[in-house]
């Protein structure tokens, strides 16, 4: 696989193949990230499309080879937050449409059902968290961003990001515990 730095350089020179390679490498993770943040797959696809479109129109915006994943994740998070602010209805979007399109990685039907159910529970619980906490959790766990990177994106201190993560995590653990007990 070509190094990100070379792909970016080729993209800046107008290589469509370079874009395809970058897209193939990162699109799934970005879709997952956006879907987790928005709880809405259609919205996630739009967000990812917007992020890539804006980037190819001005590829010079990104100039740190090696951090492309983090940078794209940040773009996705920013775009999701914009959408969230504009459209409050997204905050309570049902997750059914997301659930039936999750990528199944198990072969046994029984395990598939169990996994689907588990994903549904986690997605539902995530969606009930305040957006900042959900964003922190998702960026940390799915986006593999550091607290410093998340803090920069959220324009807060790294400590605040860490607190959001811990509050979110505690709440999520309680919610998942309640579901099991219920």
């Amino acid at each position: 696989m070509l190094d990100d730095a070379i792909l970016i350089w080729k993209l800046r020179s107008g290589s469509k193949e370079a874009f395809r390679l970058i897209y193939e490498q990162y699109a799934r993770d970005l879709l997952t990230l956006a879907a987790s943040l928005l709880g809405c797959p259609a919205g996630a696809e739009d967000v990812v499309q917007d992020v890539f479109t804006q980037w190819v129109q001005a590829p010079g915006r990104f100039r740190r080879p090696g951090n492309l994943r983090a940078w794209l994740s940040t773009c996705v998070a920013n775009r999701c937050r914009d959408l969230q602010r504009k459209d409050h209805s997204l905050r309570h979007t049902a997750v059914q449409s997301l659930e039936h399109r999750v990528n199944r990685q198990v072969d046994s039907p029984v395990r598939m059902v169990i996994q689907d159910e588990d994903i549904r529970r986690v997605s539902r619980a995530l969606n009930t968290l305040p957006y900042e906490q959900r964003e922190t959790l998702v960026l940390r766990v799915q986006g593999n961003l550091t607290f410093r990177q998340i803090a920069r994106l959220q324009k807060v201190s790294p400590k605040t990001s860490q607190s959001r993560y811990h509050y979110g995590m505690d709440k999520l653990r309680c919610l998942l515990d309640e579901e099991v007990n219920a």
Binding site: I6, W9, Y23, L31, E45, G60, V102, L137, L172, C174
Partner: protein, 861 residues
Amino acid sequence: MKPSKQSVEKRIRGIQYDASPETHDKVIGSVLSAMTSCSQKHSGASALLGNLIMKSPVTKLAFAAVLVTAAIFGFQHVGSSSIAWADVVAQFNAVPYFSATVYIKEDVASDPKQMEVWMSRDRRTRIRIGTQVVFGNKGHVIKTFDFQQRQVAAPDPYAEQFMERLSRVEPFSLDAVIRVMFQGDMQDVTPLVNPDAVISQDMVVFDIDLPGTPEWVRIWALRESRLPVRFKIWDPRSGDGTDVVFEYANEQSDAFFDPNAFETQLQGRQNRSPVNMAYANLKDPGGKAMTPEDMFAQSGYHLPDIKQVGITPDGAVWIIADKGRNRMPDGRNVYGFSRLEDDLDREYVRVYASHVTLADQSQQVFVPAGYPFDQRIPGKLIVICEADDGRVRVEHELIGTVELTQWQQDQSWPDDTIRDPENTFRLSMAWKHCAQKRYDEAEKILVTIPGTPNESRMALERERVRLRMLFIQAAYAEAVAMGDGLMPAMKKEYQRWKGSSADPSLFTDYLTALACLGQVDRVKDLWQEIKATKPELSATLNRLAREHIAESTAYSFELCLRTMVPQMSQKAHLSIEQLDALFDIDIKHNEAFTHLGFWDWNPEFDQPEYKNWERHLADLSEYFQTHALPENMVLLERDKKEALKANQYKMPNIASHYVHNFDTHLKAYLKTYRYPESAGRVRIEAHIPEVILNHDLIYKPETPYHEMLRFLMDHFGLEVVEVNEPRTVWVAHYDGRALKDFKQVKAPVSPRVRDANGQLKAGVMSSSSSGGWDVSYLFQRFMRDQNSECKATGILIHDETGLAKIQEDTGMGPRLSRECPCWTGPDAPAIARKWFGDEFGITFTEETRTVTTYVIRDKAD
């Protein structure tokens, strides 16, 4: 119960969303269409194109490249609006050669990337970027080398782009530069004098404003000589930019631009310094040294100037010499003298070496092998100075020797010189004897060191040597008992401020012995306790010093783990999982352990062949759930052929039997029957067919290997019989000469070449070992190679040299040679005779003797 944080994280990670292929196609199509329309929109808008072009760091370098190139070939086509600029152009034309250093900064905060460019008037180019040297001609890359890896490499994208841009500037003129850079849209770019930027009369400054972008280019030139000395490309929006600094001189030699000349040097063994390679064949116009080789050419070697010499009552020879440092061509230094000899033919060991930088004074102590009990007084001392670059296979270059007949007998060294007390040399020798398993010799010294470990550091060290000796001899219970008693003193020593970081390696033998006794929990507790112990620090240390010491201590712990973890794996058979838990590490993903092997894992085991084997073992285990295990052995042929590499022999959940993988030619196994004692004496009858095995032998752990081979033979209808028959035997004798350092003994024929069939030629190196080969091994390899076709007709060697015993008795160690030659082919006997004679004083008398041959044949009915 609430799920754990780790479990929740895992479940969040488990959420994987993917769009349908149609959606992906739609998104890609839409983005590509936006990309196309964007580029079409900008093709007529020079401003944005300029912006896009200049935004790329690579392009900035490329722009620097064409400016640089244009500089040397003259800006003849520049508009005539500025007379001063025309003068600069004229001066450029007179310059035969130049070099430039290009620094590119990707944004305001980034460190600049550096590229050095040398170019001749006929457009041969050499670039150094990172660890690469790139050779080009007329803008095309000819060859690229990585001087650190010492091999040909793919060119760095920056260098490649730089060259590519150069190739497009044809003919060389500013117009061509502009056309290349801006695709014909912006030709009206002329350097103009910027009077505001001029700060002195001897400098003139030109600016180029790039239309449609706030970026600009500035050129500084000397007013008197009219030569430009610096270019700068700058983006005021982000603070990124490129600086080009020029140097002018006479042209470098042809060899400097010749990739073949460079490659020859790269393959040479003498240029170990990367500086020598990066700047190979470069001559500084001012005559200054550019590389360690240049420095060496100026200084050469010299003998240190001996100021004082003495021998202590215990027999330690101390030497203090001025001008102690010798620089080697590879940039490293050697200090003082490397060896000492005397007229009593004693072997000396260097036990102390120090160098005072400012005074360039070397201080060294040598002790005879029998120290401190060999107190004979020599009549002459010979000190030897050698250039030792640390490579074991390379003979050290002799700088010179000094013979001494006068010294201060029974005197210790002056107070302000050698820092260690003489007792420490006793310990050094005890450690040395211990490492060479001469435990009696070590103990003989240790009993002379008085005191108790709690009161004396020397006494503690004495006990540590004893603990090590127990550990090496696998007397783990005794080692642990001793370690238990030493722990308070070791902890005290660990905590004591010694002027540097604390050393946890004090505890390694004790902890490893504990692990070998299965006391893993205790190891864990003690390790945690040691890590939690705060070493004492001097009150005068400032914050930076404390941070440095903390960092060094952390590194010491890492080094300690690098020693202890593999030992616990190999000796205590702790698994990777156990070791991870014990030391709170992740061995499989920790770079410190990537080069190490463990009994149950090494990085190579992640290869598919090993994974196949692990799965295969699991399959076999499952098979034996429903089938009886054999009473002794069973050979199972596999259903399918697949790539297997065996890294273990245990089947999961089965302890009573192991598995041996037989997966190559049957004869390859048979020829090892009873090796090494059967070397040269196995005959496989010619009619036995070639069979490639794909079998598992299930056997009991205590089964000897030759029994396994007999079982294999039996399976294929073969048997081994022992027959006595006359054979040509060389009886080996040793003439008693002093043997060379084994590291200096190499195979008789070099380079290492093969014949037309791909076989190694007689006399070339077939194997090498940093630990050296002993006489038995060298003879066995000769006999084995002589019998490579398994006819049992080659020459045998009967060892009557007595070398093994002589070496053991004298404590020289069993090693004779660093390399073992290949002895196949008709020329081998003659070469071998000469080599053994020249190198070791081993001669052979030829006899015919009756010896036992192992004949492998069809089983008799």
